[in-house]
């Protein structure tokens, strides 16, 4: 055994452990493509739930899309919802069991396309749920078709010459729209391409769950993500493309952090 191997083995001891896989993530190998942001966000959710000690009280609602199998990976209670209906299902679960922590986990095809109505009305009602929104500007699972959040000029399998505003309209900035609604308590946009961004996103997810505990209203966390298979780029090149093209259109940061609006502002006078 070389000196170096001995030195490494001297470090690899339980008392020196600084990071290991969250105990809430089970042994199933994730089906996501290499470098997919879903895996990072899954891990952050598992770590937040583990650190808050709410494994037994948390119910997730998984979407239709790449994250449809989220229930295979995080060891909490899950309910699968019909396409786009995760906020409605989460509303029902939260109203029947208000002491539980309920979150929906959705992609852009689920939340911003087919589920737009459910998304808007759940946030407008100020439901005490957490909504986690993975925005990768493409339909990943079905083969890279154009999504509502696809950027103008972005090449997808249904816009082979780039998204054309005259034909396909503009990218939907749903997070900005949701921040206008009085029921939204906390609306933020984060990303997971660098270690610093990952740590900020983890804080945002933790804050969202804490807001749910305080019954302040809907907490909405958008994570600007990559889809290296859909974008036809390597994972590292996808991150670069995201920084150059997605961030100007989808700027990071908190959009709202005030809690749900006071009902007296909306009440009739007489």
């Amino acid at each position: 055994m070389s000196v170096l191997t001995e030195k490494i083995n001297a470090i690899i001891k339980p008392e020196n452990l600084v990071y290991s896989k969250s105990p809430l993530l089970n042994d199933d190998s994730m089906h996501y493509c290499p470098g997919c942001s879903h895996g990072v966000v899954h891990r952050l959710i598992a770590e937040v739930i583990d650190e808050m000690g709410i494994q037994e009280e948390t119910i997730g609602v998984s979407p239709v899309g790449c994250a449809v199998f989220a229930y295979n990976y995080i060891d909490i209670d899950w309910q699968e919802a019909a396409h786009g209906r995760a906020p409605a299902v989460a509303t029902g679960i939260k109203r029947v069991m208000p002491e539980k922590y309920v979150f929906s986990y959705q992609g852009d095809g689920d939340l911003a396309a087919i589920g737009t109505a459910e998304t808007f009305h759940a946030v407008n009602r100020g439901e005490n749920i957490v909504m986690i929104f993975i925005n990768n500007a493409i339909y990943g699972m079905t083969g890279g078709q154009m999504a509502p959040t696809t950027l103008v000029g972005q090449i997808t399998s249904t816009t082979p010459h780039g998204r054309n505003v005259d034909l396909n309209g503009y990218p939907l900035k749903i997070t900005e729209l949701l921040a206008q609604l009085p029921g939204a308590a906390f609306v933020t946009r984060q990303s997971v391409q660098t270690p610093a961004a990952v740590r900020k996103t983890k804080k945002a997810i933790r804050k969202a769950f804490e807001i749910q505990a305080q019954k302040k209203g809907t907490a909405f966390v958008e994570v600007v993500s990559t889809c290296s298979s859909g974008w036809k780029l390597s994972p590292v090149a996808s991150n670069k493309w995201m920084e150059e093209n997605m961030f100007p259109q989808y700027p990071l940061g908190d959009l709202k952090d005030t809690g749900r609006a006071d009902a007296s502002l909306y009440k009739v006078k007489g």
Binding site: L4, Y19, T194, R199
Partner: protein, 76 residues
């Protein structure tokens, strides 16, 4: 040679060779192995283990949670 202060253990079979940890590593410790795992991916490994500081940047960006990080104080 710098003191060995940190070490990472990569689950070779879980690693999909996405290269994100290699880019995130500030000390150029990690690289993709020439060998492949059973899935056919070039898995990540410590190419320069003496550089590792145990900063956990690699495990922070790993989508498959396959990196375990250990750290100890530098020996004198």
């Amino acid at each position: 040679m710098a003191k060995v202060r940190g070490a990472v253990v990569v689950d070779n079979e879980e690693c999909k060779g996405c290269n994100l940890c290699v880019v995130a590593c500030p000390t150029q410790t990690l690289a993709l192995n020439r060998n492949v795992n059973n899935k056919g991916y070039h898995y990540s490994y410590m190419e320069n283990p003496e550089n590792c500081t145990g900063c956990t940047n690699c495990s922070a960006v790993c989508p498959d949670s396959c990196i375990t990080v250990y750290r100890t104080k530098a020996e004198h």
